[in-house]
């Protein structure tokens, strides 16, 4: 499968949209996780402003870096996955790649592995940019450079990666199922930004919706990032972050959902005619 990983990696690396998505993510990270909280704290007093400033300091590196993964980061990862899988249908490259002979699941496996690698890069960049931003804040504020322990950083990276991987796999499954990009991205974003929000909002009123929401990708992603240290919405943190579900349960559900998306994509890839 290494050969297919190499092929997919080359496609991803040279594809402009990969870099656009990465750039958009980092710009959003700097603005929403650092610049905005800093400006809020600067122009305001009170507990929320103090919390906002604290989140930008080195001690909160892990939580602040992964805070956006449950919603915005996840949405971008979903787009990345949907583009990777769906474009192949639009361009007619499915047949071209498959007739090279590596086998259908091998081609898909290569795509998933290359996406996984790309997300590793994204997570590392996220942490690096976050560290840089909080170092700047610390120096301006003359706050201590109180970095979290390495073990926490590694756990944070792994958990954050898992959340992004789940969304990317969801995108791959959608792109494969719809044999295209626009429908896949449209459906995926409507799900992430609309459907989940509506279910969450109604969950307190209807008991079965409360059960349903505990299985949702965004809710579990948000709970996982909260467990890693992200501030919840109630604390003025990023949208989607909540402590509804315990960290370990959320990790498990995220992993199961990721596996489920991969299975769906694999089954479709294997069973369907390429026309």
């Amino acid at each position: 499968m290494l050969a297919s990983v190499g092929a997919e990696w080359m496609k991803l690396r040279k594809r402009p949209s990969t870099w656009v998505l990465g750039g958009v993510w980092l710009a959003m990270l700097v603005f929403f996780a650092y610049v905005l909280p800093y400006l809020t704290a600067d122009s305001d007093t009170g507990p929320e402003a103090a919390g906002a400033l604290a989140s930008t300091l080195p001690a909160e590196l892990v939580g602040n870096a992964v805070a956006g993964y449950a919603l915005f980061g996840g949405a971008l990862a979903l787009i990345l996955g949907a583009l990777s899988a769906g474009s192949e249908y639009g361009w007619g490259t499915v047949k071209t790649a498959l007739t090279q002979g590596p086998g259908r699941l091998n081609v898909l496996g290569g795509m998933l592995a290359a996406l996984g690698l790309t997300l590793v890069g994204m997570v590392v960049l996220t942490f690096a940019v976050s560290a840089g931003a909080s170092a700047i804040v610390a120096s301006i504020e003359s706050a201590p450079y109180d970095w979290p322990p390495v073990a926490d950083i590694v756990t944070g990276m792994a958990g954050g990666w898992l959340v992004l991987a789940m969304f990317a796999l969801g995108g791959v499954a959608l792109g494969t199922a719809t044999r295209g990009t626009s429908m896949a991205i449209g459906l995926g974003l409507v799900w992430v930004f609309v459907v989940e929000g509506l279910i969450r909002a109604s969950a307190s009123a209807l008991e079965f919706l409360d059960t349903v929401q505990r299985a949702l990708p965004g809710v579990n992603g948000g709970s996982l990032t909260a467990a890693l240290g992200a501030r919840t919405v109630e604390e003025g943190g990023a949208p989607g972050v909540s402590t509804l579900i315990s960290g370990w349960q959320a990790t498990l559900v995220v992993a199961v959902l990721a596996g489920g998306f991969a299975l769906v994509a694999g089954w479709l890839q294997r069973a369907r005619d390429v026309v």
């Binding site: 297919s4 080359m10 040279k14 047949k95 071209t96 090279q100 005619d273 390429v274």
Partner: protein
């Protein structure tokens, strides 16, 4: 019945001593109510260029997709180089261009081939070689999206050749090419056949397959209507004779090939004369003192061949009789 006769003839003239590289038996594909491919039997031998001739919608692409494992047959079986279609073993030595060439628009031609070479585990020195072969080396660094239709098609052929395959499956590779490009493509396919590769070439142009193929299978409505060698198809071309006096010429030719095979058409005679008898007709006319101003073979259009092959059994019988 007559189609079977055609198949028997084809079997006699094909190099049956070697293992076929491609065998299909009763290959069938049904899409809902549409029977896209209906019990197609096919054999392609090493070094043979097999023309798969049929109008649009005949089932050529669908058959090729099945042979490449892209779609599953509804019924029937096929082996490609002794393996199941679409299996890595079968695809290892098969190069294919199916329908329009599908490439990554944001990558250069060369990078596209690099990606494919990675998938197939082909050493990268092949990339330069195949780009050279299809005359794309000069533009290989440009993005695929900037290519003309003809360049895209040529890159598709380059991709098909990347693995240095024993069997090529080319689906209408001259689509979108200008006349010069078509001629080049035909030359390339012919050369590939001469190198000992087997080629399955589909086309809706009779002239095209006639010029490059050893054997031709005509497909219509998902069925192989007939299989024949190029010379057999050529044999069905009419001989057009313009001579003075025409009525005397009519008599002379009718005396050689029978009255039923000669028909007057305007100021010319349209005769069904086997290829090997044309010279004899010419001699007879001249020695009878007739002024022959025109003597040419007019190949039938694909439409006419179809009609003669599918329309009435008698026509096929005549067409085939002068070969055996």
């Amino acid at each position: 019945m007559t189609a079977t006769a055609a198949l028997d003839r084809a079997a006699n003239t094909s190099p049956a001593t070697t293992e076929p590289v491609l065998v299909a038996r009763g290959l069938t594909k049904r899409y809902g109510d549409v029977l896209a491919v209906d019990a197609v039997d096919l054999e392609v031998h090493p070094g043979e260029v097999y023309g798969f001739l049929g109008p649009n919608g005949a089932g050529k692409t669908t058959t090729m997709r099945m042979l490449l494992g892209l779609i599953r047959p509804t019924a029937g079986t096929a082996t490609v180089l002794g393996h199941r279609p679409g299996s890595p073993q079968a695809l290892a030595e098969v190069g294919a261009l199916v329908e329009s060439p599908g490439f990554y628009p944001y990558l250069s031609g060369r990078d596209n081939l690099r990606v494919l070479a990675r998938y197939s585990g082909t050493p990268s020195y092949r990339i330069g070689a195949v780009l050279e072969l299809v005359d794309l080396a000069g533009r290989a660094g440009d993005r695929f999206s900037t290519y003309s239709l003809g360049m895209k098609q040529r890159l598709g052929v380059a991709a098909a050749l990347l693995k240095d395959p024993r069997l090529l499956i080319l689906d209408e590779p001259t689509n979108g090419l200008d006349p010069a490009g078509m001629a080049e493509m035909r030359e390339l396919v012919r050369r590939l056949g001469e190198e000992g590769r087997a080629v399955l070439l589909s086309s809706h142009l009779l002239g095209e397959v006639q010029q490059v193929c050893d054997r031709i299978g005509i497909i219509a409505g998902g069925r192989i209507v007939t299989e024949s060698t190029v010379s057999e198809l050529r044999g069905q071309a009419d001989l057009v004779v313009v001579a003075e006096p025409l009525s005397q010429a009519h008599q002379v030719i009718a005396g050689l090939v029978g009255d039923g095979a000669v028909a007057q058409q305007g100021d010319a005679l349209r005769c069904q004369v086997p290829a090997q008898q044309v010279a004899e007709v010419n001699r007879a006319l001249v020695s009878a003192g007739i002024d022959v101003t025109e003597l040419r073979r007019e190949e039938k259009s694909l439409e006419e061949v179809f009609l003669s092959l599918t329309g009435s059994g008698a026509t096929i019988g005549e067409g085939g009789s002068h070969v055996g």
